[in-house]
C-alpha cells in the first residue's frame, strides 16, 4: 500500500525534532541546520536512524529551511542541499531495513507576502519550486509543508508541490492560543482553503505542547474531512542564556498524545524539543490505537484570508456592486484605472453587511486579466470578505483564483459542455465553490423542470472532477416578470426543488425580477423574501439598498437563523431612536461650512446644489479653496488638529467629485494647475505622510502622479521624464533611506536641472534637506501646498 492509501486508514507516526538534537550536537544559535547535510552528513543520518529504530513511519528530511532565500550566501544551492537532505534520509531508511517514508520538509520562507510584506505571491511560489523538484527527484515520498502561519504562503507552497511533483502533500500549521494563525486566519479559513486545494492531510505542529494542542482538536475534527496530523513541541520553550530547552518529558508527552489518539487522529509525531525517547514512548503507547475514521463533514464553505463563510440555514448576502453593467461611473473608473473607486464600493458594501463580494471588472476595451489581477490583489489588502470571482474570461478566472488568498466563489459555470469543460478543471485545481447557471446550449428553459434537469446535469458533470454538491451553488435564474407573468414562479419552483430535493445550495441575482417595472424596489424585496423562504442560500443583491437589507434582516429574524433577533436589534435599535429625534439637518450646510467641519456627504450635496446656480470655477474659488485655506492656516498655526485637517480634505474631495461629475455631464474636464510626481523613496515603506500630501495637492487642483512607496530612483526619473514635470516631492522616514533620497535628487537634477524637488518626512530637517540638495523642505503637508502654489503661480504652468 502506498502512503496515500495508508493515510487515514491506520495510525502513522512522524518523527520528532531535528533542530533540538543538532543543538545538542553542537549546532550554534544562528547557524543553518540544513548546511549540516553537506558538512556533517553522518550526524543527520544518525538522528534519522534513531527515530526509525523507535518505530517512526515518516521521517522529516533535514530540508526545512533549504529554500533559495535562506541558502543565499551560504555557498550551497537550494537544490543541492535539498537533494542531499533527502538522500541522507532515504539512505537511513534503507540501512534500517524498515518500511518508512522520507518527507521533503518545507518550512516558511521567513518573509512576509504582499500586501503586508514585500514578497509577491508569484515570487514565493517560485522559491518553493526548486525545493519541490529537487526533493522529488532525490526520492522524497511526500511533501510536508510545516510550521506555517500564513495561508497565502501555504497556498504558494501547495501549488508548487502540486504543479511540480506527484507526491502526497501534508500541511501542518502553527495556531496561537486563540486558535488563529499569525495572519489572523482562523482554523475554518485554513481548512476551507486546504481542502479546496485537495491536500492529503492537514494538522498542527510547533507552537505548543500536546496539552494545549489537544484543546484545538475537537473543533478541527468537526470541520475537516481530511486525515489530521498532530506534531506538538515538548511543551513551551524555555530560554536560558540563549539556550532553548523544553521540559515535557517522554512519559508525560506520550500520556497526553495517547489521549489525543484515543479521541481520533491520523498521524502523530513531535516538533521542537521532542527526542527519540519521546517518540519511543509515543509509539509504544499508541501503536495499537486505530486511526480516526474519516467522514465527509459536507460543509459548503468559501473563505477569505481570515475567516470562512458557510452556506447554512442563515442565508448570505453577496454584494453585487463591483460590476460595470449599466453603470457609467464604474465603467469610467475601469477605463481610468481608478481602483480607489472600486475599493470604496467594496468597503461600503462591507459596512452595509455583505458577507461575500462579487467582483466583475470586465469591459471589452480593457485588459480584463490585468484588471482582475490588480483588483483582487488590492481588495485582499483592504477587506477580509471572501470574493466571488465573476468573469467569463477563463484566463482572468484562473489568474484571480491563483492569486486568491482562500477558497473563492466562482461566478460562473453553466450547463453548456464547453463551459463545464473549462470551469470545472480550474475549480478542482484551485479549490472553489462554483455558481452554476441553469442554462445550456438550448438557452434558458422556460419550465422549472427544464432548469432542474440542467442542474442535475451540472451536478453529475462536477462529480467527474471530484467536485461534490457541497461546492456548488445553483442559480435557477431570475427573469423579469415584465415579460412573462410565470417567470417568478418558474424560478422559485426550480429553486425550491434544488435546495430541498437535490440538497444543493442556491443563489439568485435577485433584482432582475423587476426589470422594466417602475419602483423596482417594491417587487425586488417581495421576490427576495419569497426566494429566501423557498430556500435561497445566498442572494446576489445591492446591500446599499436599505429596503433589501431590511427584508433580509426581517427574514432572518423570522426564520430563526438570527438567534434572539440579535442582529436585527443591533441594526435597527439605533435607527428607531434617530427616527424619534427626527432627521439631522446637516444636509442644509453651505459648502464652505461643510468643508471646514469635515462633513463629506454634506459637502457633496452642497456642491451639487451650488452648481445649479454657479459655474464650477466659482464654486471652487469662492467656497472650496477658501475653506481649505482656512483649515490649512489653522493647522499651520496649530489651532486645527491633524485629523480635522484630513476630514476637511476628504470633504473637499467629495465637493470636487461633485464638480467633476458636473463637468463630465457637460462634456468638459477640470483644468489642472500642473502635474507633480510624488514618491516615498527606495527602502522606505512608510507612506501615510506622502498620501496626506497627495490628497491636499489634489484638492488644490494639482494633478498628482503617485508612484507609491519603496520607489527606486530610476522610476522617479522615468516618471519625471514621462510627465515633463517641474516639481517632484519625495518622502523618507528613516535615516537609512535619506541616502536614497539624496541619490534620487542627484539623478533628477542631472537629467532635469530645472526640475524642483521638495522633501519631507520624519527624519528630515532643513539642514539635512540642504545637505542632500533639495530645493524645499516641507515640515508638514500644508507646506508642500504652499510651495507648489508659489512655484506654479510664479511662472505659469
Amino acid at each position: 500500500m502506498s502512503l496515500k492509501e495508508r493515510l487515514g486508514k491506520e495510525l502513522l507516526f512522524f518523527d520528532g525534532a531535528m533542530g533540538t538534537l543538532l543543538q545538542e550536537r553542537g549546532l550554534q544559535s544562528g547557524e543553518l541546520p540544513e548546511i549540516w547535510n553537506m558538512t556533517k552528513e553522518n550526524v543527520i543520518g544518525e538522528i534519522h536512524r534513531e527515530y526509525l529504530d523507535v518505530g517512526c513511519d515518516i521521517i522529516k528530511a533535514n530540508t526545512f529551511g533549504a529554500n533559495p532565500f535562506k541558502m543565499k550566501g551560504t555557498g550551497y544551492s537550494c537544490q543541492e542541499v535539498t537533494a542531499k537532505g533527502i538522500a541522507i534520509a532515504k539512505h537511513a531508511i534503507v540501512e534500517s531495513g524498515k518500511k518508512a517514508y522520507a518527507a521533503l520538509d518545507i518550512g516558511s520562507l521567513g518573509k512576509l507576502l504582499e500586501p503586508l510584506g514585500d514578497l509577491s505571491f508569484e515570487a514565493a511560489y517560485q522559491a518553493f519550486v526548486p525545493m519541490c523538484t529537487a526533493g522529488e527527484h532525490a526520492g522524497a515520498d511526500l511533501c510536508l509543508i510545516e510550521t506555517m502561519n500564513d495561508t497565502y504562503e501555504i497556498k504558494a507552497a501547495v501549488l508548487a508541490a502540486k504543479e511540480h511533483t506527484s507526491l502526497p502533500v501534508v500541511v501542518t500549521m502553527v495556531f496561537d492560543e486563540c486558535g488563529k494563525l499569525l495572519t489572523g486566519a482562523d482554523m475554518e479559513a485554513a481548512v476551507a482553503m486546504l481542502e479546496g486545494l485537495r491536500v492529503d492531510a492537514l494538522g498542527l505542529n510547533c507552537g505548543f505542547g500536546p496539552d494545549i494542542m489537544k484543546k484545538f482538536l475537537p473543533r478541527l475534527r468537526e470541520i475537516t474531512s481530511l486525515p489530521i496530523v498532530v506534531n506538538p513541541n515538548a511543551g513551551l520553550p524555555v530560554v536560558v542564556d540563549g539556550k532553548t530547552s523544553f521540559h515535557v518529558g517522554p512519559e508525560e508527552f506520550a500520556g497526553i498524545m495517547k489521549e489525543i489518539a484515543q479521541d481520533g487522529v491520523s498521524v502523530l509525531g513531535g516538533c521542537c524539543g521532542t527526542t527519540p525517547a519521546h517518540l519511543h514512548a509515543l509509539v509504544e503507547s499508541c501503536r495499537d490505537i486505530p486511526a480516526m475514521v474519516l467522514t465527509d463533514k459536507n460543509r459548503s464553505v468559501v473563505s477569505s484570508y481570515t475567516h470562512a463563510v458557510e452556506m447554512d440555514q442563515h442565508p448570505k448576502i453577496i454584494g453585487e456592486r463591483i460590476n460595470p453593467t449599466g453603470k457609467s461611473r464604474f465603467k469610467q473608473a475601469l477605463r481610468e484605472q481608478d481602483l480607489e473607486y472600486i475599493y470604496k464600493e467594496a468597503l461600503a458594501q462591507q459596512d452595509r453587511g455583505a458577507h461575500i463580494l462579487d467582483v466583475n471588472v470586465g469591459l471589452p476595451e480593457i485588459d480584463e486579466v490585468e484588471m482582475m489581477r490588480s483588483v483582487v490583489t488590492g481588495l485582499q489588502g483592504i477587506t477580509d470578505l471572501p470574493l466571488q470571482i465573476d468573469t467569463s474570461n477563463p484566463t482572468a478566472m484562473e489568474t484571480a483564483m491563483r492569486l486568491y488568498n482562500g477558497k473563492p466563489l466562482i461566478n460562473s459555470v453553466n450547463g453548456k459542455q464547453e463551459s463545464m469543460d473549462v470551469v470545472f478543471p480550474l475549480a478542482a485545481k484551485y479549490g472553489a465553490m462554483v455558481v452554476c447557471l441553469t442554462l445550456d446550449e438550448n438557452g434558458i428553459p422556460k419550465t422549472a423542470k427544464g432548469r432542474i434537469q440542467i442542474a442535475e446535469k451540472i451536478i453529475a458533470e462536477a462529480a467527474k472532477y471530484g467536485i461534490g454538491k457541497k461546492d456548488l451553488l445553483i442559480d435557477t435564474l431570475t427573469m423579469t416578470i415584465s415579460t412573462g407573468q410565470e417567470n417568478a414562479k418558474i424560478t422559485l419552483e426550480a429553486l425550491h426543488y434544488v435546495r430541498n430535493v437535490l440538497g444543493v445550495h442556491t443563489t439568485l441575482g435577485v433584482s432582475n425580477i423587476s426589470f422594466g417595472l417602475p419602483l423596482r424596489g417594491h417587487v425586488n424585496t417581495a421576490f427576495f423574501t419569497i426566494a429566501l423562504s423557498q430556500g435561497l442560500s445566498a442572494g446576489i443583491i445591492n446591500p446599499n439598498s436599505e429596503e433589501m437589507m431590511a427584508a433580509y434582516h426581517s427574514f432572518c429574524a423570522l426564520n430563526g437563523s438570527d438567534g434572539n433577533c440579535s442582529d436585527y436589534i443591533a441594526r435597527y435599535s439605533k435607527q428607531s431612536e434617530q427616527q424619534k429625534k427626527g432627521p439631522e439637518k446637516s444636509g442644509e450646510l453651505r459648502l464652505f461650512d461643510a468643508v471646514v467641519r469635515g462633513l463629506s456627504d454634506s459637502a457633496y450635496h452642497a456642491a451639487k446644489k451650488e452648481l445649479e446656480n454657479k459655474k464650477p470655477l466659482e464654486v471652487i474659488d469662492q467656497e472650496l479653496i477658501p475653506a481649505l485655506d482656512q483649515v490649512g492656516q489653522g493647522f499651520e498655526k496649530k489651532t486645527v488638529f491633524l485629523p480635522q485637517l484630513l476630514m476637511s480634505a476628504d470633504a473637499a474631495k467629495a465637493g470636487f467629485d461633485a464638480i467633476k461629475e458636473h463637468l463630465k455631464a457637460e462634456g468638459g474636464a477640470q483644468a489642472s494647475k500642473g502635474t507633480i510626481v510624488i514618491a516615498t523613496v527606495k527602502g522606505d515603506i512608510h507612506d501615510i505622510g506622502k498620501n496626506i500630501v497627495k490628497v491636499l495637492l489634489e484638492n488644490y487642483g494639482f494633478q498628482v502622479i503617485d508612484l507609491g512607496k519603496d520607489v527606486p530612483p530610476e522610476t522617479v526619473v522615468e516618471a519625471a521624464r514621462k510627465h515633463q514635470v517641474k516639481l517632484v516631492g519625495l518622502s523618507a522616514l528613516m535615516t537609512t533611506t535619506v541616502a536614497n533620497m539624496e541619490l534620487t535628487i542627484k539623478m533628477i537634477k542631472e537629467e532635469f536641472p530645472g526640475c524642483k524637488v521638495m522633501v519631507g518626512g520624519a527624519v528630515l530637517t532643513q539642514t539635512y534637506a540642504d545637505m542632500i540638495g533639495a530645493d524645499f523642505y516641507s515640515k508638514d503637508a500644508m507646506g508642500s501646498v504652499r510651495y507648489a502654489n508659489e512655484l506654479f503661480a510664479s511662472d505659469g504652468r
Binding site: 544559535s29 470604496k344 468597503l347 461600503a348 489588502g381 483592504i382 469635515g598 515640515k779
Partner: protein, 216 residues
Amino acid sequence: MRVDRKEALRYLGYRGQEIEGQTLQMIEEIAAELEENSSPKSIYHEYGCKVTKDMVKLGGLEIKSHNLSVNLKGCERAVLLAATIGRTADFMIRKYSISNFAKAAIVQAAGAACIESYVDEVEEAVRKDAASRGLYLRPRFSPGYGDFSLEYQKDIFTLLECSKRIGITLTEGNLMMPSKSVTAVIGLTAKERESCQMEKCSLCAKTDCEFRQEGD
C-alpha cells in the same frame, strides 16, 4: 494591551487645539477597533554581554556602536527583545486610506501608541524578573537609535527567530513588517544608580522635532 489615548493624541500632533466631538469619537472608535483586533506577541532572551568602548558582544553577536556601548556600560547581562501588535494596524491603515483619511492617520498614531505601551508591558515583566535577582534595567535601546545600525536587525531576527515565533519579518531595507513592531536591547546592571532613566530623545540629532521629549 491598551491604546494610551493621550499618547495617540501626542503622535497626532495634538498641542492643545480645540477638538470637536466627532474627532474624539473617531479616535475612540479607532482605538477600540485596534484593541479588539490586535494580537500582541513578544519574545525575549537574556544573554551575557561584554561591553567595550565601541563594541558590544552579546549572544554571539558583535555589535559595533558607540551609543549602544554607552547605554550598556558596565552591564554584564542584557536582554534582546522583539514585540509586535500584529498586522491589524497595517490592515486598518490601508483600509481607511481608501475610505476615510482622518481615520488612517488616527490608526497610525494609535498604533504607535499601542506598540509603545505594549513594549512597556513586556519590559515590566523583564524588570520584575531582573529585580528578583537584584538587577536593574537600563533604558531600552533599538537598532536605528544613534549609531546602532539597522543592519543588526538581521542578526537579532535570527537569534530570536522573530519570523517563526511572533510573525515579524524584515524587508530588504531592514524595516520591520508588521510596521507596529519593536526590537530592542535592554542592559541589566547590579547598580541601581546607573540605571537612571535617560530620555531616548536626547540622543537624536533632530533637535527641531515636533515630537521631541526633553528629560523631566
